[in-house]
Assembly symmetry: C2
Homo-oligomer: 292 residues x 2
């Protein structure tokens, strides 16, 4: 599949899976952020991984959508006034600016259980054991040991000049806030394709590196891009004294580290004979996006 | 098992299941509200239902704990300033008063995925199919179609004098905000004991009625009890113009409705030959608590 076909498939399915039920305001709020146009990078990685390992990407569609929904959930809560306090997301007013803080908080909560419901309801070709494995991956990478743990470390780093081991903390934040969703996407795609333990281990390493590269690029973009290009308020990390690659290493060294990380991703693909135009394209887009 | 033995078991298991990992502040915040002393009504109902249907209540312990954890999660988010803005819970400062709003929000998020992890990790005697059934109950009753939907309707009713169908809205709020967790507890206990579809249907009806009775009693207590007895700020429902049984029907008619609802619960127990001292005790406690 081409990138655009994947995007269209995910957009259609997300629209189909989230119907507006009662209480309507809640479901509208849930659907609003999930269906804002996006790159759909995580679900695409899930389906593509399944496909490149010989599985049928259709089997991964519910899981892929669930991951995009969980990602949207993290955006809704990250944007709240008590967290990053962002008024815009993907070029539109953020969820709480449209629906209010209470509904936005509850919409996020609701999406956390709505996403795995999609996995159990629509994964009709998967065995109960595979579904349980996928759900365990979801709980693990979304929860306190995953994305949410990363967000906590991110918030606690803000304006804190007393952090001793800044490099380790930054690594922790990036691993969990960003790489964990990349790992979840790629690992579940692999599990659905019945990957071996060895394949899974290798792809987890690849996913971690790709996620960190993506986050370094994002930190760079927060410094050099514009609202028009990114659809969200920029320069906020700097303003709020957040620990980022650019604040810790400077712009030039960050670009260098990004370049290194992308090279490692390409090396893994080459040495392990991973053939995927989609992943090549994703790596290229991260590279071009950060203008390195 | 006696009520106090069940409570001790749950308290011990909750303490054991939630270990303080990194990021420590997040896990401390998660553990804080979950382990505040409480009646443990929901987990007890789960284990007792399993036991009275001939199952081993030990098999229901992880699910019972997961439900108590999910309940704690709803308390953390309900207490947030953007929701009910409550400073106290179970006689102690509420979660965000201790850990701040950002951590409290994220601790709630984390608990939503932490709870089902306990089910999948510790339910070693249950088949994958039973675990999936239990998880689906959890997703359904916790999510947008369950407790969270009820909280949205509750918030939207606040200070809104233009609601046309007040009785239906109140029924919706109580069914979802309170009864849904009662239904989840009793249904999962029954599923773990391999209950028949007919038993499940009957117990669902019983759970719904018991939950509504509990919430009517809670509305009455909000009017007539004291902070010392309840451990939370009272009279707030009235102040904020919330739709409650007392605000809609008055105190006397609410007591009458509660009495009726408890009679129906006892009738179900008698006609269906449900023998459980624990459920008799729960009904009695609701009755005595509201002083009817």
């Amino acid at each position: 599949m081409k990138m655009n076909n994947y995007i269209k498939l995910i957009d259609d399915k997300l629209d189909e899976y989230i119907q507006i039920e009662e209480p309507q305001n809640l479901f509208k709020s849930m659907k609003y952020t999930v269906t804002l146009p996006g790159k759909r990078l995580r679900p695409i990685m899930c389906m593509e991984t399944c496909s490149m390992l010989g599985g049928d990407f259709e089997d991964a569609v519910p899981t892929a959508c669930a991951i995009e929904i969980a990602h949207a959930m993290t955006l809704i809560h990250d944007d709240l006034p008590c967290m990053d306090n962002d008024d815009y997301r993907r070029g539109k007013p953020s969820n709480h600016k449209v629906f209010g803080e209470a509904i936005a908080t509850l919409a996020g909560d609701a999406l956390i259980t709505f996403a795995p419901q999609i996995i159990t309801k629509y994964s009709t070709n998967l065995s109960p054991i595979t579904i349980l494995r996928v759900l365990n991956e979801y709980f693990n990478y979304i929860g306190a040991r995953g994305v949410i743990g990363g967000q906590v470390a991110d918030i606690e780093s803000e304006g804190n000049n007393n952090i001793q081991n800044k490099k380790e903390v930054l690594d922790y934040i990036h691993t969990h806030k960003t790489s964990d969703l990349f790992q979840l996407s790629i690992r579940t795609g692999a599990i659905i394709a019945n990957a071996s333990d060895e394949q899974l281990k290798l792809l987890t390493d690849f996913a971690k590196k790709l996620g960190i590269a993506f986050q370094i690029a994002d930190d760079i973009l927060d410094e050099i891009s514009t609202f028009e290009k990114m659809g969200k308020t920029l320069g906020k990390d700097k303003q709020s004294g957040k620990l980022t690659y650019v604040s810790l290493y400077g712009l030039d060294e960050s670009k260098c580290k990004l370049s290194c990380m992308l090279k490692e991703c390409r090396d893994i693909m080459r040495t392990q004979n991973i053939k995927s135009e989609i992943f090549e394209q994703i790596i290229l887009n991260i590279e071009k996006g950060a203008e390195i």
